[in-house]
C-alpha cells in the first residue's frame, strides 16, 4: 500500500467492495469493543485514515507476542489492519538484516518524526546494559532513542508492560518495563502473556480510526479490553456462587465444568478480555479448557503465589514461623506468670512483716 493512499483507497484497489468494507468496519468496531452504533463513524474514519508508520522493537522477549499476532495465514480482519499500517521495522518479520535494516529504521524514524508509533515487546534489562543488545546498541539506549520522536508507545505483552517473566524473582538482569524508563510519552500497555491478538490489533485499529490513544485504566491498559476482570465475565461464575468447585483436575466437578477457584484460578484479580473475546477467534480460553487463569496480564503474576494455590490462601510465610511464634509466646507466658508470682510473694512477704 502506498504511503499517500488512505485505507479506503487501498482496500478498493485490493478489490474490496463498499459492502466488503462495511463488513470490515463492523468486525473492526466489534474488535475495538465499540457498540455497533459506532460502525458508521468507524467507516467514515477508516475510509480516510492515513497509513501510520510503525517501528516494532523486540527486547528481552520470547517472540510469543509477535507469534500471537501473526498466527493467521490468510487475510483476516487482524491481518488487514496489520497490512494497513506501514511496519517499517520488525526483527522477526522483516527480510532485511544487519546494518541495512538499522539504516532503514533510522530513515523511517527521521521521515515520520513525531508521528510514528513505537511498538515494544520484551522487557529492558537495567542491571547491565550488555545483557541484551541489538547491533551493538543496548536495549535501553535504543528505546530512549526511538521513543524521543515517536507519537506514542504500545508496550505489547506483560514483559514490556510490567516486566513480565524476566522480572520474576530474582530478576537476574534487572528487567524493567517500558514505563519505568520512558516518562514523557503516552504509553499504552497491552499486557498478557501473550496478549489476545485482537486486543493488539484493536489498539492499532483505534489509532487508525481515531488517530488517538484509547481510554486507559490505572495500569495504562486499554479500558475497553482490560476494564472487567475475568471472574465477572466467566461463564463458570454461577458454580462459584453455588459453591460447586473442582477439587482436582480429573474429578467429577472438573468434568462437569465447575469453578476452578480451589485449583488456583486467579480470575478474580485478573483483568483481560479472555472470558468474552476468548482465543483462536473465539474458540476457547484457559478456564473453558479446564485450567484456572494464571493472571498473565497482571504485573508480577509469576511471583503471586503458585498457579495452583487459591487466591485466598495468601502468602503468609510458613507454619514453622508460626510454631516459632507460639514458642516465643509460651516463653513470654511462663516468664510473665513467674514474674507475677514473684511479685505476689514479695507483696505477701512485705505484708506479713
Amino acid at each position: 500500500m502506498r504511503k499517500d493512499q488512505n485505507l479506503g483507497e487501498y482496500l478498493r484497489m485490493q478489490g474490496v467492495s463498499r459492502r466488503g468494507f462495511l463488513k470490515f468496519c463492523s468486525a473492526t468496531a466489534s474488535l475495538m469493543a465499540l457498540p455497533p452504533s459506532a460502525v458508521s463513524q468507524v467507516a467514515e474514519a477508516l475510509a480516510t485514515a492515513r497509513r501510520p508508520s510503525v517501528i516494532w522493537m523486540s527486547f528481552q522477549e520470547c517472540t510469543g507476542c509477535t507469534e500471537s499476532l501473526t498466527r493467521s495465514h490468510a487475510p483476516t480482519v487482524e491481518s488487514l489492519i496489520f497490512d494497513a499500517i506501514s511496519l517499517d521495522y520488525h526483527h522477526t518479520l522483516q527480510a532485511a538484516a544487519g546494518h541495512g535494516a538499522e539504516a532503514a529504521r533510522e530513515a523511517a524514524m527521521e521521515e515520520n518524526k513525531g508521528e510514528y508509533i513505537l511498538v515494544v515487546d520484551g522487557s529492558i534489562p537495567n542491571g547491565n546494559n550488555g545483557y541484551s543488545t541489538i547491533a551493538g546498541i543496548s536495549n535501553h539506549d535504543m528505546l530512549i532513542e526511538a521513543a524521543a520522536d515517536c507519537f506514542a508507545i504500545v508496550a505489547v505483552g506483560t514483559c514490556a508492560s510490567f516486566g513480565g517473566l524476566p522480572q520474576a524473582n530474582p530478576n537476574p538482569t534487572g528487567a524493567v518495563s517500558v514505563s519505568e524508563i520512558i516518562k514523557d510519552k503516552p504509553i499504552i500497555n497491552v499486557s498478557g502473556c501473550p496478549p489476545i491478538p485482537v486486543v493488539i490489533t484493536g489498539v492499532l485499529a483505534h489509532f487508525l480510526t481515531f488517530g488517538t490513544i484509547p481510554e486507559l485504566d490505572a495500569l495504562g491498559r486499554p479500558a475497553a479490553f482490560f476494564g472487567q476482570n475475568i471472574h465477572d465475565r466467566c461463564y463458570r461464575r454461577p458454580f462459584y456462587e453455588r459453591g460447586q468447585f473442582a477439587e482436582t483436575f480429573d474429578d467429577e466437578g472438573a468434568r462437569k465444568g465447575w469453578c476452578l477457584y480451589k485449583l488456583g484460578c486467579k480470575g478474580p484479580t485478573t483483568y483481560n478480555a479472555c472470558a468474552t473475546l476468548k482465543w483462536n477467534q473465539g474458540t476457547s480460553f484457559p478456564i473453558q479448557s479446564g485450567h484456572g487463569c494464571i493472571g498473565c496480564s497482571e504485573p508480577s503474576f509469576w511471583d503471586k503465589g503458585g498457579f495452583y494455590d487459591p487466591i485466598s490462601a495468601g502468602q503468609w510465610g510458613s507454619r514453622d514461623a508460626l510454631l516459632g511464634a507460639a514458642a516465643a509466646g509460651a516463653a513470654l507466658g511462663v516468664g510473665s506468670a513467674l514474674a507475677a508470682r514473684a511479685r505476689k510473694k514479695k507483696a505477701q512477704a512485705a505484708e506479713e512483716v
Binding site: 467492495s17 463498499r18 459492502r19 466488503g20 462495511l22 495465514h73 487475510p75 488487514l80 468434568r255 465444568g257
Partner: protein
C-alpha cells in the same frame, strides 16, 4: 489416546444471558414498530457459555430469507423465524467466524447495494458497452 475419549465431559453451564438477550430483541422489535431506528447486538461482547450461542440461534430459528454474501470471505445473513430479526455471521476466507450480530431492522445494511459500488459498477458497464 482412546482412554481420554472415554472420559465423559459435560458442561451443564448457563451464564443466564440467553433470556435477557431475547428480551432485548423483543424491546428492539417494539422500537422498530414504533418507527424508531433498528438495533444491532454484538454477540461477541456477551459472555456466553459453550453451547449458548447455538441455543440463541436455535431459539430464534430460521425464516423465509437466507442470503450468502461473498465479500472478504463468506457472510451469512439469515432472517430468523421472527420477521425483522436477522442473524448475521461474518466469516473470513478461512471460514472462521470473525463477528456475529443480531440485527433488528427491516433490511440489514449489508444486503442493500452500496452507492460506491453502484457508481463503480455503472462505469464498468459503460466501458463494457463501448467495446
Amino acid at each position: 489416546m482412546s482412554s481420554l475419549e472415554t472420559i465423559p465431559v459435560t458442561t451443564e453451564v448457563a451464564t443466564g444471558n440467553v433470556e435477557p438477550l431475547l428480551h432485548e430483541i423483543r424491546h428492539a422489535l417494539k422500537r422498530l414498530i414504533e418507527g424508531k431506528e433498528g438495533t444491532v447486538i454484538d454477540l461477541k461482547r456477551l459472555p456466553l457459555a459453550p453451547g449458548e450461542e447455538e441455543r440463541i440461534a436455535a431459539t430464534l430459528g430460521t425464516g423465509e430469507v437466507r442470503a450468502e454474501v461473498d465479500a472478504l470471505g463468506p457472510t451469512l445473513i439469515q432472517e430468523t423465524s421472527y420477521p425483522g430479526v436477522w442473524l448475521i455471521t461474518h466469516k473470513n476466507v478461512d471460514d472462521v467466524v470473525v463477528a456475529r450480530f443480531v440485527e433488528v431492522t427491516y433490511i440489514p445494511e449489508l444486503l442493500r447495494s452500496q452507492q460506491a459500488d453502484i457508481d463503480a459498477g455503472i462505469n464498468r458497464l459503460e466501458n463494457e458497452l463501448k467495446n
